[in-house]
Amino acid sequence: MLLRIRTMPPRRIWLLAGYAAAAAVLFCAPLVLSDFRLNLLAKFLAYAIVALGLDLIWGYTGILSLGHGVFFGLGGYAMAMYLKLDASGGRLPDFMDWSGLTALPWFWEPFGSLAFAVLAGVLLPALLALVLGYFTFRNRIRGVYFTILTQALVIITVTLFVGQQAYTGGTNGVTGYSKLLGFSLASPDTKRFLYWATVVLLIGAFLLCHYLVKSRFGKVLRAIRDGENRVRFIGYNPAVYQMVAFSISAGLAGLAGMLFVLHVGIISPSMMGIVPSIEMVLWVAIGGRGTLGGAVLGAVLLNSAKSAFSESYPDIWILFMGALFVVVVVFLPKGAAGLFGQLKRIGRRKAADEGANGVRHPAV
């Protein structure tokens, strides 16, 4: 390990040190933040996991999905279903009672076990993404066509969840639970534990994405982004890579959804609709697509700004968000992470100009 660090270029070492410092700060945050702030930060870190997944599929593979709200929501519902069954203690959940159901629907049964709920929260979104990806990427439906299809997926899922009130709780969603394995979700100790769990999972997700991106798999993804047909001519099947990347990305969104439910205590169709789905894309865009650190940073920064502004000035916040979209897309296609690069390049050019005055190259 030490040997590897010694042979690294200094830039990598600084980057590594930065990540280590960020992780240390995250781990120590509960010592300084109030319970309310800690809960907010935990929520943002859960969002950062979605941003990582989105960056994998959009930043590295070049496929824009506006459907990540659905995957996020599926994960959230899986966790909420377990918590709800746990809270009802063997009786029918209250909203089913109101809707006139007399027995638990069959697909609710297995969610009585936490292990199943956690597995389903990751695997269901991944599976849905795999199926949708199979039917679209195989036929080379890509670019805007794919994006529109994912957006339609959001619409129908939200309509379905709102419409099937007896099974999903309708517009209100699934709420009204307070305990996880006997620990109260509202107590500061549990909250702190859940926060640390989120940090650990975020770091895990980051390392997973980092590994994927650096591996040969990641190189193929970038090649698909930059020239899908050339990749096909070399002999790869881009559809398989796109499907797998989309599926992993959806699984991460599902994981984030589960954590979100634990932190916030509610999941409803309004958290998986069109607006949240597009906001998720904005996190990645503002942080910098194609850089994993940028995605995390974008999710945390933008949500902090939102919670700071939107409560006092909701009107201005919406105008601001719209303008941010326009400015970032038109002027900063690489986001905040790209901004650093741009500044550095300007600085380097200046240095190069000064150098050019002093030393004359024989070639010029």
């Binding site: 039917f135 805007v144 299809l149 339609a152 129908i156 047909n229 038109v330």
Partner: protein, 302 residues
């Protein structure tokens, strides 16, 4: 029998509105490969224009003339949305050619801002537009089936717009230039067509049609700042299903989605109906990935 006729009529009615909204989208998407998510807000602008025209008539014109405000509202909606589209193209869209996904995000941001501005001007709650007297009631066909005049009027309006678009695209000089740019931009530019101007005018016309769609929507129900978002995704599905480049594709795409939507919702529930329509579209794309009618091209990457 009555039921079937009524469902058919409902299907055609829904299709016609979808068609009117998708028409503008299909043109801008087909020509410029720009996904205009602010199209829904252009619809909203058209709807609010009709609302303003109605209020002006109510306060400044004699009562007898009120019924005819709609005749003025349609061109006014077209004009206002046209100007908005022109400004949008000049100010933003032209920086985004060749980057369809970015255009989607940026125009979504514009749409968000327009919605908020509308909310500040007209208030967040929906406002109602009083339909003209002569559009109330309905036509009774055999049996007990009553076809509302409003819906019939909208279908007529859509047919008129379609016919006008047909004349413009296939029978006029600027339409010919537009098709040339659509099929081969470089070649058209070599032959001296100003592709910049064609793009701007086309985008503005697409926006103007969205304005007319908004005006028509005021006949159906109350209007609010988010009226456009309700229809926009369905309209995009029409474009995906119909394929890009020909009017026929859009017409059949709209008919397909509108009719199947009505039928599935009749057979099952509203929420399940939407799922079935989506599954049908995905299944259809397995068979024809480029949609019903796609423009032939030899290029590999498009």
């Amino acid at each position: 029998m009555d039921m079937i006729v009524l469902q058919l009529f409902n299907g055609i009615s829904v299709s016609s509105i979808l068609l009117l909204i998708a028409l503008g989208l299909a043109i801008t998407f087909g020509l410029m490969k720009v996904i205009n998510m602010a199209h829904g807000e252009l619809i909203m602008i058209g709807a609010y224009t009709a609302y303003v025209v109605q209020n002006l008539f109510a306060s400044y014109m004699p009562d007898e003339a009120f019924g005819w405000y709609f005749a003025l509202a349609i061109p006014a909606s077209f004009g206002v949305a046209f100007v908005f589209g022109l400004v949008l193209e000049m100010g933003l869209i032209r920086f985004l050619y060749g980057r369809p996904l970015d255009s989607l995000l940026a125009t979504w941001g514009v749409g968000l801002m327009l919605q908020q501005i509308a909310r500040s001007i007209f208030g967040a709650p929906n406002v109602g537009v009083t339909s003209p007297e002569w559009l109330n009631g309905g036509m009774t066909v055999f049996g007990g089936v009553v076809l509302p005049y409003k819906r019939l009027f909208i279908i007529g309006l859509v047919l008129l717009c379609l016919f006008a678009m047909y004349l413009y695209i296939y029978r006029s000089h600027s339409g010919r230039r537009m098709r040339a740019v659509m099929q081969n931009r470089e070649m058209a530019a070599c032959l001296g067509i100003s592709t910049r101007r064609v793009d701007a005018v086309t985008f503005a016309i697409g926006s103007g049609i969205a304005g007319i769609a908004g005006c028509a929507l005021t006949l159906i129900g109350p209007i609010g700042p988010s009226i456009g978002t309700y229809y926009i995704v369905d309209a995009f599905m029409v474009v995906v299903l119909g394929g890009v480049g020909k009017l026929v594709g859009t017409v059949f795409g709209a008919l397909g989605i509108g009719m199947s939507n009505t039928l599935f919702e009749y057979w099952t529930t509203a929420s399940l109906g939407k799922v079935l329509v989506f599954l049908c579209i995905v299944a259809f794309l397995q068979w024809k990935p480029m949609g019903l009618v796609a423009m032939r091209s030899r290029s590999l990457d498009n």
